[in-house]
Amino acid sequence: MKRKTFIIGFAIIVFASIANAQKFYTKSGKISIFSTTSVENISAANKSSVCLLDSKTGDLQFAVLMKGFEFKKAKMQEDFNSDYVESSKFPKSEFKGQITNNSTVNYSSNGVYSVNVKGKLTIHGVTKDVESTGTITVKDGKLLANAVFNTLIADYNIKVPKMYLDNISKSIKITVDCTLEPLK
């Protein structure tokens, strides 16, 4: 009898510790922004985004330093930081949300799962509700999180100088591409 209790107790501890290892994270996630107009295409990528995902609840968070976006053209990067998103005043952008169909993702079995994500995105000090579809790819204990969605510059109170109105799209495509590891 004592032995049985011990085994059950042991099993609970083991399961509890497995259940604890349900958070996945990265500090070097890639988030790209893309603007396309008839005049030019502009893209920039941030390769040091922080992302945390709780596989049990589906909670999902991102934190990005705006100064980490790399543009090909140096002048664009400087203008982006000083005039558009005002990185010194608003250094960080954040997303806090949830995977709404989290129960359909089997985090312990390799595969590609489509997910719906809903939450609040804060850029340039303005918080808006956003919703997007994406995929979670489970691959040998790691997760690949991918999503593509569009945001309107005007929603986040970002002003584009008149001179560049034709060069910069009103709608910016945001691409999320993160490889998450289990958090120990």
Partner: protein, 176 residues
């Protein structure tokens, strides 16, 4: 400085005006063409200017990974952020971790292996392969562009540690 420039421009305009009045119109046209050319050339240069390869840029600050982290963790981060804003830093430290993603973008973490915080260096796209040659635990010198300090805050009850982030990193010296 700006008022001086304004004065110079006003002076030049008066000079051009006088030339115009005294019928030296060819000279005036020449000056205008030259000015437009210079502005256009400068503008195009600015527009298409790309980032410099940091191998050819001198660092403003030379500091060890632990010292830099300590500075950010103990001092007011708004002041420290301002001090290093947009600067090129040369960091010496131990390679804590080498990470690469599917697109083979390399990230090097520098710092003590027993702390969660680190200096996070995103390698320059044209120097990715040098990162592949690094070994964990070796000491290295990396030059990079300061992005910012991401303070460790609780996200969903866990702390991911604080990080100083650099991008466009190049490896200067790799001591075994």
């Amino acid at each position: 400085m700006n008022s001086l420039l304004l004065l110079a421009i006003i002076g030049l305009l008066i000079f051009i005006g006088l030339l115009w009045i005294f019928r030296k119109r060819k000279i005036v046209l020449l000056i205008i063409v030259l000015a437009a050319g210079t502005i256009g050339w400068y503008g195009y240069g600015e527009y298409s200017r790309s980032h410099k390869d940091l191998l050819n840029v001198k660092a403003k600050y030379n500091i060890s990974a632990t010292e830099l982290l300590h500075e950010f963790e103990t001092e007011d981060s708004t002041i420290t952020n301002k001090k290093y804003d947009n600067q090129i830093l040369e960091i010496s430290g131990n390679v804590k971790e080498i990470k690469n993603n599917d697109q083979s973008d390399y990230t090097i973490l520098l710092g003590d292996s027993n702390t969660i915080s680190s200096i996070q260096c995103e390698m320059d796209t044209s120097h990715q392969l040098n990162a592949a040659e690094l070994t964990k635990g070796s000491s290295v010198k990396i030059r990079g562009h300061f992005v910012g300090f991401q303070k460790g805050e609780m996200m969903m009850d866990v702390s991911l540690g604080s990080d100083v982030k650099l991008n466009r990193c190049v490896i200067i010296k790799n001591k075994k």
